[in-house]
């Protein structure tokens, strides 16, 4: 299994390569954006993904790996709460950026066995969904459009946003709600009082 190291900035990629080496893995490829990761995964039949950085930068890589059904290990700088909703239905490990080489090796074995790893740490609450992040006003507006059965294009027209921006807000909302479909997003948001019934 070849490791593909994905990180948004050069210093993070360098850090990642070093951390991997220390844990006894070799990065077969370094990629800098989710599209490149997607292409690398399409080429490498048997691979796994390692990524590092703050949650917001790591999230697109984790999403790409999970969509491709490939194990992913994320070394997180700061609060990993934003990743919490994403881990359903995938083999993923979320560790602190300072995790030991041993922890990285153990997590690698776990995710290759299809498990989810969440590193316990004082400032983290490991129970998923215990503190759901509230949606932003923009995310709520976009979700209301989805609930009414509008396409991203129509939602964008009403809110004066491009369809891609709508898609971005919606993906953020999906992550916060821990869902993967428009239908599920509407149901969960209603249940949580984020969307009117």
């Amino acid at each position: 299994m070849k490791a593909i190291a994905a990180a948004a900035t050069a210093p993070l990629r360098q850090e990642l390569a070093l951390r991997l080496q220390a844990a006894g893995f070799e990065a077969a490829q370094l990629v800098e954006d989710p599209q490149a990761l997607h292409e690398a995964l399409a080429q490498e039949a048997r691979s796994w993904v390692v990524t590092a950085g703050p949650s917001n930068l790591v999230r697109p890589f984790v999403r790409t790996a999970l969509q491709a059904r490939v194990p992913v290990l994320a070394l997180i700088e700061g609060d990993p709460a934003a990743l919490r909703g994403m881990l359903q239905g995938g083999a993923a490990a979320v560790l602190d950026l300072r995790a030991s080489a041993e922890a990285i090796r153990a997590s690698s074995a776990a995710i290759h066995a299809g498990l989810v790893v969440w590193q316990p740490s004082a400032e983290l609450d490991p129970s998923p969904g215990a503190k759901p992040a509230p949606l932003s006003p923009r995310e709520r507006e976009v979700l209301a459009g989805v609930a009414a059965g509008l396409s991203n294009k129509l939602i964008g027209r009403q809110l004066a946003l491009s369809p891609n921006t709508v898609k971005f807000h919606l993906q953020e909302a999906f992550d916060k709600l821990g869902v993967a479909s428009r239908a599920e997003a509407v149901a969960v948001a209603m249940r949580r009082g984020e969307l009117s019934i």
Binding site: H38, A42, T64, Q67, A68, R69, G145, A147, A148, G149, L150, S151, N152, K153, L154, Q158, K167, F174, A180, S181, R182, A183, E184, V186, A187, M190, R191, R192, G193, E194, L195, S196, I197
Partner: protein
């Protein structure tokens, strides 16, 4: 050819005959499910499988951009607008299905036909989904549904379309009766979209302590509170207000926001529901006419 050989051949022949009426619905890189050609401009698939508002529909020869015309959140039926150039399968009657009857699930993945013969494990009457959808018939199987067969067509031994396979609780395969698919697609054809029932209230759960629970004569220690009322909504017209503690809906006690969402989803637009709330220490009743969720 012996009986076993001809039996095997007939099974494969039937699949080959209906295969052109199912498509592969690609929703993202490496993610796809199956869909059923409904008419010359419509494909039906599983709403739960659709993450975006567009998809690529693959027939065995070609691929087409499809637009999501409607997602029925309550029945898991998604309607795609696409001219696939394929012909729809002959429609049967889910009422003819019986427990133990062999049927075949037919889907498509990356140009390959997928087929799985299975015995119907259970057939039952109409039921209401956990989202409040009215399903015309209970049809269940005993296995977990393969992801690529989500949205696949369920054919009986004559090759007539009886249902669409979707994952039910814990991923177990269930099927949505062809009559339900007909009801949803007919509404979409009528309006161009699927009108959604709507009250215009945001609700959040609250926990009652033992004293409150007894005082309010509640069986359980949860209730929901109104945390928002949309402007120009049926709830506002009826007089509901921020802070109202919602006690019952049509005289049935309310314990969660999800339950209200389910009830309203199952209620038709134009129907009148009775809401009982507690406001400032007194109980008040409101009649609310369920409206249509505004589209902008």
């Amino acid at each position: 050819m012996n009986a076993l050989q001809s039996w095997a051949q007939e099974r494969a022949d039937l699949v080959a005959r209906v295969a052109s009426s199912v498509v592969c619905v690609q929703t993202g890189p490496g993610r796809s499910l199956s869909g059923i050609v409904w008419d010359e401009q419509t494909v039906v698939t599983a709403a739960e499988g659709l993450s975006g508002d567009r998809a690529l529909v693959h027939t065995r020869q070609d691929r087409f951009e499809a637009e999501v015309a409607a997602l029925d959140l309550t029945t898991d039926v998604g309607v795609l607008r696409v001219r696939s150039g394929q012909s729809a399968p002959a429609r049967g009657d889910s009422g003819s299905l019986r427990a133990g009857q062999p049927v075949v699930l037919v889907g498509q993945d990356a140009g390959d036909t997928l087929a799985q013969w299975a015995d119907v494990q259970r057939v039952g009457p109409a039921w209401r989904s956990r989202r409040g959808g009215q399903l015309a018939r209970t049809i269940r199987f005993s296995f977990r549904l393969d992801a690529a067969l989500e949205g696949s067509a369920v054919f009986d031994a004559s090759g007539a379309l009886c249902a669409m396979a979707v994952p039910g609780a814990r991923g177990r395969a269930i099927a949505i009766a062809v009559e339900t698919l007909e009801a949803v697609t007919a509404r979409v054809a009528q309006f161009g979209y699927l009108p959604q029932p709507y009250l215009g209230v945001r609700l959040q759960p609250v926990w009652l302590d033992e004293v409150q629970r007894k005082e309010l004569e509640r069986e359980r220690d949860t209730a929901v509170i109104v945390t928002g009322v949309d402007a120009r909504s049926p709830a506002q017209d009826a007089g509901l207000a921020f802070g109202d503690l919602l006690l019952s809906l049509d005289n049935r006690p309310v314990y969660s926001a999800g339950a209200v969402a389910r009830e309203i989803a199952a209620t038709g637009i134009g129907a009148v529901v009775q809401l009982e709330v507690r406001r400032g220490g007194t109980k008040k009743g409101f009649s609310v006419t369920v409206g249509e969720r505004p589209r902008g």
